[in-house]
């Protein structure tokens, strides 16, 4: 049962991963990427890491990929133009691809020889402990400083993005809810007795 589920999920992950780069339409690529994320989350569940699986779905599928899709849909991608530079970028792309492939092979061989796949499961504090407790215990005790530093890096990245895109446009009229709500009748309305034939002077 478990094996069937694994092979189905793994096959879907690999096939949709391949379709991400071969699909002609960029929106289809993003949709296949989402499918790949989702089946990877399924693989996490099979490994008993349900918390990580849910986080993968919430963060990557639910937020990051939505923004991907958002941007790709808005872009007007011209395919003929995109293909023109293909030959120029091919050598660099090949180098990066080969490097990534070597790294992946090194990592997977290390996992196969000394990691979980070789039967040496990672340190388990308590068999009864749930996923969330185990991750929380490690993150907030052993790695608390690294964890906080990662948070700081993200904060810097966020502030950088805001600084780059924020512009104060003075000519745009904005709604200020507070002034609207606190405005009273006497601030806005004045009853004036108008004499006939004279009107109101400014």
């Amino acid at each position: 049962m478990l094996a069937i589920a694994f092979y189905i999920l793994a096959a879907v992950t690999v096939v949709s991963g391949a379709l991400v780069i071969t699909a002609r339409n960029p929106v289809h690529s993003v949709l296949f990427l989402i499918l790949a994320f989702f089946s990877a989350a399924g693989l996490f569940v099979l490994m008993g890491a349900e918390f990580l699986a849910m986080l993968l779905v919430v963060v990557y599928v639910g937020a990051v990929a939505v923004l991907f899709l958002f941007v790709v849909m808005m872009l007007d991608v011209d395919f003929t133009k995109l293909r023109q530079g293909f030959a120029n970028y091919l050598p660099i792309g090949m180098v990066v691809g080969i490097l990534l492939l070597i790294e992946l092979i090194m990592i997977s061989s290390a996992v196969a020889q000394r990691g979980a796949a070789a039967g040496q499961s990672p340190q388990v504090y308590d068999a009864e402990m749930s996923n969330i407790e185990a991750i929380g215990r490690v993150l907030y005790t052993d790695y608390v400083y690294v964890f906080q530093a990662a948070g700081l890096v993200l904060l810097v990245a966020m502030i950088g993005a805001i600084v780059l895109t924020l512009q104060h446009r003075t000519y745009v009229k904005r709604q200020d809810i507070h002034t609207q709500v606190t405005r009273r009748r006497k601030d806005a309305v004045a009853i004036v007795k108008v004499k006939t034939g004279e009107g109101i002077k400014e």
Binding site: V27, L31, M54, L55, V58, V66, L69, I132
Partner: protein, 361 residues
Amino acid sequence: MTDANFWAGPWGWTIITIGQALAVIVGVMVSLAFLLWGDRKVWAGVQMRKGPNVVGPFGLMQSFADFFKFVLKEVIIPAGADKPVFLIAPLLTFVLAFMSWAVIPFAPGWVVSNINVGILYLFAISSLGVYGIIMGGWASNSKYPFLGGLRSAAQMVSYEVSLGFIIITVVLLAGSMNLSDIVNKQAGGFWNWNFLGGGGLLGLGIIKLPVMFGMMVMFYISALAETNRPPFDLPEAESELVAGYQVEYSSTPYLLFMIGEYANIVLMCAMITILFFGGWQSPIPMDSIIAPGTLAYTLISLGWFIVKVVFWFIMFAIAKAIVPRYRYDQLMRLGWKVFLPLSLVAVVIIAAYQVFGGNFA
């Protein structure tokens, strides 16, 4: 092989689980038909109309008549549409809306899948709901649906953030992400329900009362925004976008979108019930009258759950009838500048109470 062994084995387990899932889906579908009728009746009542009253007694069969009307019509697919995505979008909405019901505990022990990360699962599935809308909007290859899809994507992503923080306050109070545990924690009368702070209000604990009540109100408003209900129905604002992402849909695909939308609304009602209104717990403890664990106790608990869900559904229906639509920038302001900071502060207060509160009690 005896019968008992068979039901405990993998095949028996599969059959039982599929049966339970089917029971839940059919139950939800049938109740949806009547809730939809109730929604229209409430709406009509506010506007001093009669609402559907022709088909069946009191018009009760109206939803079934509508169902057959939708199914029997022709499916029209626009010439320029991306056909596979166009058809997958409503299916996705429909399937995701029903996937979430797997972890909802209807009564003590009545849950298809009692997983430890239940609340996170609900949150994850509901965050996927945006894809049905955005795919439908894009695949229609038409301007209004596209604008509607983009709007709804931005809106749902924005409100998910504050929804997540509100859920965290409840998780902090319960100390568990399992939905059944969250409900069990609220046992013993309505004063222990989370919308009043989850019990233990003596002394410093009183601080939880206003915070959690505010969280309930914010969850209700965020749920309206998350399900694209009025006053936040900007993705389908008929005065601006005709009908948003649904413009090009007709017949059964449209029906799937609509059922998915209403299933999500009822799911949100169930979530408010579980998180803030004690789930299946009775408002006054009934353990002394009926022994827990008996079938009668379970059925009465189920009754309480249904009553609460219907109450919240009526709240949703009334909001649709009496509140005017928000403008888009106001919607974003509410989500990012009001709800997000408030819910963050609430998380800090509740977490601080859970850690340090015992020292002062």
